[in-house]
Amino acid sequence: MKNLFAGAAIALMGLTGTAYADGHANYPERPVMMMVSYGAGGATDFQARIVTMTAGNEDALGMPIAIINKPGAGGRVGWNWLATQAEADGYTLGAYNVPHFIAQSIKGGVEYSADSFEPIANWGADPAVFVVGADSEMNSMTDVVDFAKANPGKLTFSGAGLFVGHHIAALQLEKAAGVKMAYIPSNAGGAGAMKSVIAGEVMGGVNNLSDAFRAAAAGNVKILGVFDLERNEFLPDVPTLKEQGFDIDNASVNFRGVMVPKGTPQGIIDKLAASVPAMFENGRVAGKMKAGGSPMHVMNREEVLEMWAAREATLKELLAGL
């Protein structure tokens, strides 16, 4: 059905004019919709609203981007919808969270994989960090691992769910340190996982840098390590896991960006890939993101394609044993 429409559209374009070279010179001609697969108020939704707020400017798309939330099942509902039901006409964009959707597609039970989507650009990178309660006796990752070695399987630590960045970070830590720990997935996302650390229900937790930064500023938690290749500008004093002697890369960093369903005309993809990164670099956007404690990391289409491929390889290896 979709092909039929596309065919009809192309035929119509052929009839109506040859003014534009590839038929997309005027794109976008109406407001564009962006699907966010998490609920209103979550970190992904919040950031998506900020980075798209200048879309209507003449130097960006010239048309506003409206955010549509399709939450459910850890993002699976929204991404299933984007892969199978959304119109690939360039007016339906989607926000991605890597490693979440790639890990879910490797685990199975969903109707998408990395091949179902075409990336446009990346706007943010939120690394995972390891947190413990403010009154915990553990002060470094070495303390954490020592405790886990002495008490195999007894160190409880929370995270936002299974097959999300936090879980990947947990698996990497267990593998690199050669210990067995008890990962407790939360059903209330990062906020629920953070609450269980602050309330002392668990001994530690993996959480988003942006949320942990706020909780640490409020004096509720200590941040012991960053699961990334280098230290973060928000937390210059917190060492990475690598610095503390664990061989862990940035596979768990939560990359957020924009993609479109496969089948979107190449002309539109090219046009978006050229204009969207510049839109993310707008000064107002950067100011709001920084104020909200959300680390930005703008990447263009080629860089994102590379990052997706690298992530898929790492995750396949890491999740093979599960």
């Binding site: 509902v77 879910q104 059903n187 629920g192 668990v202 706020r214 709001k288 104020a291 404690g293 959300s294």
Partner: protein
């Protein structure tokens, strides 16, 4: 008393104007089926980009308080609860509206909302540090027992018999398992892509409450062409105020339960109204009148759901943890201005924090005034002929369930649950216990799974779930609640259907 210093800020022309817009807009949004408080606040966030931090929060805070109360309008007049918070309001409120007492029901609900709401905000102002500890005290094992406590009231809630109540509760619990499970991601009963995200509570609410009523109205319309016009009784506001004051017990129970339960992250808002309704019923000497358009039912439910607003913000404002979806949206509204909730908020931005809290206080009162003003007008909805009314409710039900996630899937869910419920109601089952099952299922399950994972890694299931003062207290209350239900069931023979109960009541 620091908050008094910032009262002046609420009354600057711009701030007060925003407060008015937020309150009136919130009432309208809240009265629209399908627009829950969370969505209403999320819709307003883009408008706060251009405002100052304090102004933005005034708008959001006013909208939050008045959408919760506004939900009562559609619950009472149309039997469509706008959000889970308003379920209990439909039980007596809509029956009152059918008797022509819609104006009274609305006035009672706005007055008790305002009283409960002001009390809740007062708690937020004076007891925040104490409350923050209490909010954190509930771990997975306690939340599990709390959910079980909720399950025990299923049997006694708005049903003709305990067995039927429990049965429809079980249907709700089963419906709650559909979709990817919350923790392990396992797929359960996904027979159609529309339910892969599970059954969303709001479309389910709309379907279960509104659709059976629509079908009944259409059926009646065929039998009786001379539309039965209900005489809408006029109700002086002073009488309603006197009525609320007379029903101190219901008001007190509603306010207390709403404040306490509202505090618990992730649970409160959804069940506060129902638990308060149930407790008010159990403690009332006129408990038989509940469900037949009894004023205590409306007062307890509405006092509870607005009392919850203030305490539900405690975890957000003190610990930076959003305790409810609406609080998560408010967090976004704060972050966008570079303000981190927590000690930073009260130490470095006291003007923002206190202006926001004060505006919620004033907002409650404004909401009450406007609510009372529209109550008389809105109640004339009952004069609309059945066939027209059915079409309007059906249209609103479609709109409301689609707008939750812009998904036709939710409309199918709403329609099929609604049609199923129509037949269940004919056999004396009722929608409220079913919805309670749907809400409590995931809470009980997720907390049990989480708790047992922690327990297995530490000191074992038994000690984790069965020891500790809070666990033991909750278990004791659960047992008391079960014993009470059994005793009541044995003591009195129930009616076969709810309609019988209504008729019997009218005959008296």
């Amino acid at each position: 008393m620091e908050f008094l210093l910032y009262f002046g800020d609420v009354f600057t022309p711009v701030n007060f104007g925003l407060l008015l817009i937020g309150t009136i807009g919130g009432l309208i949004l809240g009265a629209t089926p399908g627009l829950s408080p969370t969505m209403a606040v999320a819709l307003l966030i883009p408008f706060t980009f251009k405002l100052e931090a304090a102004q933005g929060l005034i708008l959001l805070g006013a909208a939050y308080t008045s959408t919760v109360a506004g939900g009562a309008v559609s619950a009472i007049l149309l039997k469509i609860p706008g959000a889970p918070a308003n379920i209990a309001t439909t039980l007596d409120g809509h029956t009152m509206a059918q008797k022509g007492e819609g104006a009274k029901a609305l006035q009672l609900s706005f007055i008790s909302s305002a009283i409960g709401g002001v009390f809740g905000v007062m708690l937020l102002i004076f007891l925040t540090p104490v409350l923050a500890k209490w909010a954190l005290a509930f771990g997975p094992s306690h939340l599990f027992w709390l959910a079980i406590l909720g399950v025990t009231i299923i049997g006694s809630l708005d049903s003709s018999s305990v067995v039927k109540g429990l049965l429809s509760g079980c249907i709700g619990l089963w419906l709650a398992t559909i979709g990817f499970d919350d923790i392990m991601g396992a797929q359960r009963f996904i027979f159609h892509p529309a339910v892969s995200g599970g059954i969303n509570v709001i479309p389910a609410l709309i379907g279960l409450f509104a659709i059976p009523q629509v079908i009944t109205m259409f059926a009646k319309g065929r039998n009786d062409t001379s539309a039965e016009v209900i005489e809408v009784k006029k109700q002086p506001v002073m009488d309603s105020i006197r009525e609320v004051i007379k029903r101190k017990r219901a008001l007190g129970i509603g306010t207390a339960i709403g404040s306490v339960i509202g505090l618990i992250p992730g649970v409160g808002g959804q069940i506060a109204g129902l638990v308060a309704y149930d407790q008010a019923k159990k403690f009332s000497p006129e408990r038989d009148k509940f469900g037949t358009g009894h004023s205590e039912g409306v007062i307890a439910a509405e006092a509870a759901n607005n009392a919850m607003v203030g305490p539900s913000l405690v975890p957000l404002l003190t610990l930076s943890i959003p305790g409810s979806p609406t609080a998560a949206v408010l967090l976004g509204g704060l972050l966008i201005h570079g303000i981190f909730p927590g000690s930073d908020l009260f130490d470095n931005h006291p003007d923002v924090a206190w202006t926001f809290i004060n505006s919620m206080l004033i907002g409650q009162i404004l909401m009450c005034i406007f609510g009372l003003y529209v109550a008389g007008l809105a109640a004339s909805v009952a004069r609309v002929p059945h066939s027209v009314m059915a079409a309007v409710v059906l249209g609103l039900a479609l709109f409301g369930s689609y707008s939750v996630q812009n998904s036709m899937g939710d409309v199918y869910v709403m329609a099929s649950l609604g049609i199923g419920m129509y037949f269940l109601e004919r056999f004396g089952f009722s929608a409220a216990p079913l919805v309670l099952g749907l809400i409590l299922g995931p809470i009980a399950e997720a907390n049990f799974v989480q708790g047992s994972m922690i327990a297995n890694a530490t000191n074992g299931l038994g000690p984790y779930f069965m020891t500790g003062t809070l666990n033991l207290t909750l278990i004791a209350v659960v047992i008391a609640s079960i014993v009470y239900s059994i005793w009541m069931e044995l003591r009195q023979a129930r009616y076969t259907t709810k309609d019988d109960a209504v008729h019997k009541e009218e005959a008296l």
